[in-house]
């Protein structure tokens, strides 16, 4: 079901973390017409933080870049809705394209994306998923590390 076909209102925006909620209300960003609210469970892959001191997946692994501390070296487009999402891939090969680059302190985790987590927007060309987590959702129990990135550094 496409989200633009249902009533989108403030009550719906209130389900999201405050930074996304405010950006939606102010019109800084808007959801894509291809956003899906209802969908079946999807197996997907995500790069998570992994090093000598952190080997367990936790909620912090699913934060969007907009929710992380500001860093002038990291270019974040606050007008791009993807900056407020959690990135995953349906196809592991597509994620491996990215891990050809140095990915310090990263491992790949596999898990199930569920509609209870939040709406998703899938790029069919790359199998990339923008997952917009609802406030207080923690998907970490659904994911497990399957490989440490080769260029973990």
């Amino acid at each position: 079901m496409f989200l633009n076909n249902i009533s989108i209102n403030l009550e719906y925006y209130n389900k999201f973390p405050i930074i996304l909620k405010n950006a939606l209300i102010s019109g800084t960003v808007k959801f894509s017409k291809s956003l899906k609210k209802e969908y079946n469970d999807l197996p997907a892959y995500r790069a998570v933080k992994y090093n000598n001191t952190k080997k367990e997946i936790d909620k912090s692994d699913f934060l969007s870049y907009m929710e992380l501390p500001k860093n002038p070296l990291i270019i974040i487009d606050e007008n791009n809705i993807s900056s407020y999402s959690c990135s995953l891939f349906l196809n592991l090969d597509e994620l491996h394209k990215i891990t050809k680059f140095p990915t310090k302190n990263k491992a790949i985790a596999k898990g199930m994306v569920k509609k209870e987590f939040g709406p998703i927007d899938i790029n069919n060309n790359t199998s990339h998923i923008d997952l917009f987590l609802y406030e207080d959702v923690d998907p970490s129990n659904e994911f497990e590390v399957i490989e440490v990135c080769k260029k973990n550094g």
Binding site: A47, K49, S64, Y65, P69, N71, P72, L73, I74, I75, I76, S82, S83, S85, S87, K97, I98, K100, F101, P102, T103, K104, N105, H128, K150, K151, G153
Partner: protein, 191 residues
């Protein structure tokens, strides 16, 4: 309006020119400074923002996007033989940058050896066309058995390394490097 990125001592203010690979944030991207020097940049740590920055030119970028050279080679063949490494010191709220020799930089900081650019889109194609058009600003012709390369107006970002790849008929400039000279009065190179 150009999007400003960082301002470091090695480059001055950098402006974002093109994002080549991104995963919600740019990973591999091209910047230029106010002197139109181009830099290929690679974010290698999305927590510290650690980024490696290599001086390059259109010719290398075109070759990389056309899979003639690997991504790693562009960094290793930095035009000034250096790679700038920059990261953010959260405690002191400042960007720290330093230079390292591009040839001996740890492979942990570079794209996987032997890997070609493999991220295509309409936007990348358009950028590639834009890079190629730079060479239209150069007139190349034969006169009295000599090859003349003359720059037109608004010629930016073309360095000797760009120019030596230009060919006219069967003659390639790089083959004539020891026999060419530059006429400053008429701004032309004769090979």
């Amino acid at each position: 309006m150009q999007k400003e990125w960082i301002n470091i001592k090695e480059t001055g203010q950098l402006y974002l020119e093109k994002i080549l690979v991104s995963l919600n944030i740019p990973i591999l991207f091209v910047c230029h400074n106010s002197k139109d020097k181009k830099y290929l940049c690679l974010n290698i740590n999305d927590e510290t923002g650690e980024t490696i920055i290599a001086l390059t030119n259109n010719s290398f970028l075109i070759d990389m996007l056309q899979k003639k050279i690997t991504m790693e080679e562009v960094f290793r063949n930095s035009l000034d033989n250096d790679i700038i490494i920059a990261f953010y010191d959260y405690e002191n709220e400042e960007i720290i940058s330093k230079k390292e020799n591009a040839k001996i930089l740890s492979e942990d900081k570079l794209p996987q050896k032997g890997e070609y650019f493999d991220f295509y889109s309409i936007e990348i194609d358009e950028y590639l066309s834009c890079l190629k058009n730079t060479f239209k600003d150069i007139d190349t012709f034969i006169q009295n058995n000599k090859m003349i390369i003359k720059q037109n107006n608004n010629l930016f970002n073309v360095t000797i390394k760009d120019i030596i790849k230009i060919s006219y008929k069967k003659m390639i400039i790089s083959d004539t490097l020891k026999k060419c000279f530059y006429e400053t009065t008429d701004k032309k190179m004769i090979a």
